[in-house]
């Protein structure tokens, strides 16, 4: 088996592959929700080592990729104001808005800063009382609690020149939306481990039951992913659809009660548009009325944004697992990491970037022989 020696424990990896092979009798499609899992899968060639009946479909779990264009454009506009210090995680720098990105805005002289943590942005606000400091609050359930805590701290410490541009999204409503799509081919889910570290598993039994779909909470390491796939296939073959935890060292059933309490204090659930996918009801968070003064959208009334999405990019279909990145005509031609048309090519967790980086340039049936 090619690649096998790259696993941290090749013997255990082989045993897991063998076990998956032994139980698989029919074709199955399994979606890994999280972009981090997608990268691990492609890098380690897990998709190519699996029995050919098993297809892994890459899901929408990259917060950088799904942040709506309108929010990116708002970020660019706020960042361009002379009184603003705009703080962001590094992976947002090159996500294309309508015609420009944060990197370009910085090159034109705006004060854009990369921070490791939202608390760093709060510190910058304390040190620059005469400037407005805005933090770009994107991310799934894993990132939302840190951002919530930062707003809570800002209020507690009376730091008035800090605000959050919020675009948080939630995973379970996205799973629901994918299952509701008439084109859906997904038969089981590997749920994103670190999301469940915060939220626990409470939201999944109802989804698994209603859509009759197995959901296995899975980590990011190759062996974790294999174990997740093994459990998903076993359920599929047995006609079951329950929620299983294949990442118990990081996920407890109730998640993190302290983080969840902070989330429900600072945020409220709202409908959210996902880039490339569209509106998903109740799939995001915004600041609750108690913290509205820290909402950058209120503070800087950014209105009249005219978004302009690439007409070529098919990242919406990529994010829903409807096509693989190399099935997009622009892949590797007009669209490369140097000149990305969509966020899925920019983000290190994006499926297009994973395929480009690990040279999955061919059609699926030719892949196995051409990738070395």
């Amino acid at each position: 088996m090619k690649y096998l020696d790259e696993f941290s424990d090749p013997v255990l990896a082989k045993r897991l592959f063998d076990d998956i092979r032994a139980v698989t009798t029919r074709p199955w499609s399994i979606m890994e929700v999280c972009g981090g899992q997608t990268h691990s899968i492609i890098r380690h060639g897990i998709d190519q080592l699996l029995p050919e009946e098993i297809e892994l479909i890459h899901g929408p779990g990259c917060p950088v990729c799904v942040t709506p264009l309108e929010i990116i454009d708002k970020a660019l506009e706020i960042a361009s104001r002379p009184d603003v210090i705009f703080c962001s995680f590094g992976d947002m720098l090159r996500v294309p808005g309508s015609g420009r990105d944060l990197f370009k805005v910085k090159s034109e002289g705006a004060d854009v800063r990369v921070v490791y943590s939202p608390l760093d942005a709060l510190k910058i606000a304390q040190e620059n009382p005469d400037r407005q400091v805005v933090f770009f609050g994107i991310g799934f359930e894993t990132t939302a609690p840190p951002n919530a805590m930062t707003v809570y701290q800002a209020k507690k410490l009376g730091i008035a020149n800090f605000s959050l541009l919020v675009s948080h999204v939630k995973v379970p409503p996205a799973i629901d939306a994918i299952m509701n799509s008439p084109d859906c081919r997904v038969q089981a889910f590997l749920a994103a481990g670190h999301v469940c570290t915060v939220m626990g598993m409470g939201e999944y039994p109802e989804l698994a039951e209603r859509h009759r779909v197995p959901i296995v909470v899975t980590g990011f390491e190759p062996l974790d992913i294999l174990e997740g796939i093994r459990r998903a296939v076993r359920q599929l073959e047995a006609g079951q659809h329950t929620v299983e935890n294949a990442y118990p060292r990081a996920v407890q059933a109730e998640g993190s009660p302290a983080a969840r309490a902070m989330l429900s204090d600072v945020f409220e659930v709202t409908d959210r548009a996902w880039r490339g996918i569209g509106m998903i009801p109740q799939s995001g968070w915004r600041l609750s009325p108690k913290y509205r003064e820290y909402d950058a959208e209120y503070r800087f009334s950014v209105t009249g944004i005219q978004t302009e999405e690439s007409t070529v990019c098919r990242s919406g279909e990529v994010l829903q697992g409807l096509i693989k990145p190399h099935e997009c005509a622009a892949f590797g031609k007009e669209c490369t990491p140097r000149n990305p048309l969509g966020a899925t090519m920019v983000s290190s967790e994006g499926a297009c970037a994973a395929y480009y980086l690990y040279r999955r340039l061919e059609t699926p049936d030719k892949e196995a022989s051409s990738v070395g």
């Binding site: 992976d91 910085k106 990369v114 490791y116 991310g139 993190s256 290190s348 967790e349």
Partner: protein, 112 residues
């Protein structure tokens, strides 16, 4: 950005009435907020995401995960030079004001 990286707590202090720690991620040390895992002690490992400990982790799996993330380039991405990477990816000049702080360069020179 979505992955949480394991690290080891080196020291703990109260700052602005908040429980904060210095955490070591395989050589890179960062400030981390412990409010979501309040019973962490010095020497414990935790999964840390954007400066917040989210869950305690046993030492062995922490070390394994760190090694994997190092290989996947996740550590570079979390803690590395984001402007430099963006400039390389864009095939463009690094924007003004995004150079590494001079102190670090000086330190490096002094060491070599």
């Amino acid at each position: 950005m979505c992955l949480a990286v394991p690290g080891r707590v080196l020291e703990i202090e109260e700052r602005d009435a908040t429980r904060m720690a210095k955490v070591d991620f395989g050589g890179v040390v960062k400030d981390v907020c412990l409010e979501y895992v309040p019973d962490m002690k010095v020497g414990d490992y935790a999964i840390v995401h954007v400066g917040f400990a989210l869950q305690r982790l046993d030492e062995e799996s922490a070390k394994q995960t760190l090694e994997l993330f190092e290989n996947l380039g996740v550590l570079e991405e979390e803690f590395g030079d984001a402007w430099g990477k963006a400039a390389r990816d864009a095939g463009a000049e690094r924007p003004a004001g995004t150079g590494l702080p001079p102190l670090e360069g000086a330190e490096k020179e002094a060491r070599s």
